[in-house]
């Protein structure tokens, strides 16, 4: 897969994950190159969230190997912390720190984890808020913002740690339709700047215009991975075809 001989930044090898007896991930093999943008889609319950959460160890995989930027994910706390510093994550339900103002949401991790000075943290937080077009909301609490604004704060909060990779888990599916595009616009800009992204989403327009590859998951497996053109126009697997016919019909 690697086009220029570089090491992939994320590698999953034969990853399995169980919840009790239920196998949520079945021998997942998956790679992401630096600068690559991958969209993951698939029906509900297919394991998309589980896979993406394994990448920064919000879930622990049971077997197989996950390597992120050269660190293999084991129970070693040092490696986990190192990985989390390099991987930003955006959740479906924003998950902002409700008791902190927007600006403090952004400054907390740099101050605590990177030991950045307060002034410096504030400056880079403001820069990021400008980048997501809400510098004027810096002194509000999350509950005072619209969903779209909250999600943009969440993106900025993840960017504050200067991650190498950004993971998105259905970032727009909790949003009212009119707010979806303001979040997608920010994500498109991130992609244009060359950010490595793994994005679970059903926004097929976004997938078409931004993704290098689209991975389709079903019942804990990656069924098919293809560039958008191929994926939409010439799906190979029956399950992919069924999924596409459902999702594109409305």
């Amino acid at each position: 897969m690697s086009e220029d001989g570089q090491q992939p930044i994320i590698v999953l090898e034969d990853v399995c994950k169980y919840f009790g007896d239920f196998q949520a991930l079945k021998n997942i093999n998956f790679q992401v190159q630096k600068g690559e943008r991958i969209v993951v889609c698939g029906p509900s319950g297919s394991g998309k969230s589980t896979m993406i959460r394994c990448i920064n160890r919000l879930e622990e995989h049971d077997s197989g190997k996950i390597i992120v930027n050269g660190h293999e994910l084991t129970n070693d706390v040092k490696d986990i912390d190192a990985v989390r510093r390099e991987v930003g994550m955006v959740f479906q339900s924003f998950n902002l720190f409700p008791h902190l103002k927007v600006i403090d949401n952004l400054m907390l991790a740099p101050k605590l984890v990177r030991k950045t000075s307060k002034a410096e943290a504030r400056e880079s937080a403001m820069r990021l808020l400008e980048r997501v077009y809400i510098p004027d909301q810096a002194d509000k609490y999350p509950s005072q913002l619209s969903g779209g604004q909250q999600q943009r704060v969440a993106i900025a909060r993840a960017l504050c740690m200067n991650p190498e990779v950004m993971l998105f888990d259905e970032p727009t599916s909790a949003l009212d339709p009119e707010m979806i595009s303001e979040v997608l616009d920010v994500m498109v800009e991130l992609a244009e700047e060359g950010m490595t992204m793994v994005c679970v989403t059903h926004e097929m327009g976004f997938a078409r215009s931004v993704a290098n590859n689209i991975a389709f998951m079903d019942r804990g497996e990656i069924v098919e991975t293809n560039p958008p053109n191929e994926f939409f126009n010439n799906p190979r697997n029956e399950r992919t075809k069924l999924f596409l016919s459902q999702i594109l019909s409305h």
């Binding site: 919000l58 989390r84 510093r85 998950n95 907390l108 969440a154 909060r157």
Partner: protein
């Protein structure tokens, strides 16, 4: 029989002298109880059985028995043992005041730790995951995310518990302490006017309880400025 309002007015100042002792019992026990509660909470959520099991047993025992019985066990019961009488705690356990403070503190420790645990469990999982995802350690998550959110969630229940504690201080009168209820009982023994005197005492307690409730309400409001419909 007649209801003598002037008796209420006459006895109020006397009872207010008992108020000092009531408040001392309340504040000292609440303070010790809170410190104890934090320790017990940390033991309970430590994830290690040899810490969480004793904490759970402690909570179970103190929540499952009447405070009056606890006071009696400590005040009347403990002196049965030579060991206690010769220990450094004897100066405290010899006095009814010390015994009441010990009983009330232990009690409040058990209840408040459960209240705090409720607050901790009320913190949304997703918010903590987000904190992990930006690289905060377990300790940092507890200090900077869990604690402030849990404290706010715990205020209403803590407010109720403080009022329960205020009411529990009246039990000190059963071991001869002259706090508000104790004073009231001695006056009733002299005047034999139970309605007037006890109602005067009740007025003091209800007023105090309302004041505490107001105070905690304001505190909660302040702490909730980040919540949408506060």
């Amino acid at each position: 029989m007649s209801f003598d309002v002037s008796l209420i007015i006459d006895s109020l100042p006397k009872m207010l002298r008992g108020l000092g002792l009531t408040l001392q019992l309340l504040f000292i026990s609440s303070f010790i109880g809170l410190a104890l509660a934090v320790v017990i909470l940390l033991m309970r959520i430590s994830g290690r059985w040899f810490l969480s099991a004793p904490a759970a047993v402690y909570i179970y025992v103190f929540r499952g028995t009447p405070i009056l019985v606890q006071i009696f066990v400590i005040y009347y019961g403990l002196p049965q043992f030579e060991l206690i009488r010769e220990s450094i705690f004897w100066p405290i356990l010899r006095e009814p005041f010390g015994c009441c403070v010990v009983a009330l503190s232990l009690n409040s420790g058990a209840y408040v730790s459960e209240i705090l645990r409720g607050g901790v469990l009320g913190v949304e999982k997703g918010v903590l995951e987000a904190a992990s995802a930006v690289g905060l350690s377990k300790r940092q998550r507890f200090i900077y995310i869990t604690t402030p959110i849990a404290v706010r969630l715990a205020i209403p229940a803590y407010s109720n518990d403080t009022i329960s504690m205020l009411k529990a201080t009246a039990l000190a009168s059963t071991v001869t302490l002259l706090e508000v209820t104790g004073v009231a009982r001695t006056i009733v023994a002299e005047t034999f006017a139970p309605y007037e005197i006890f109602i005067a005492a009740a007025i003091i307690y209800v007023t105090l309880a309302s004041m505490f409730q107001k105070g905690f309400g304001l505190f909660e409001k302040r702490m909730s400025r980040y919540v949408k419909d506060a």
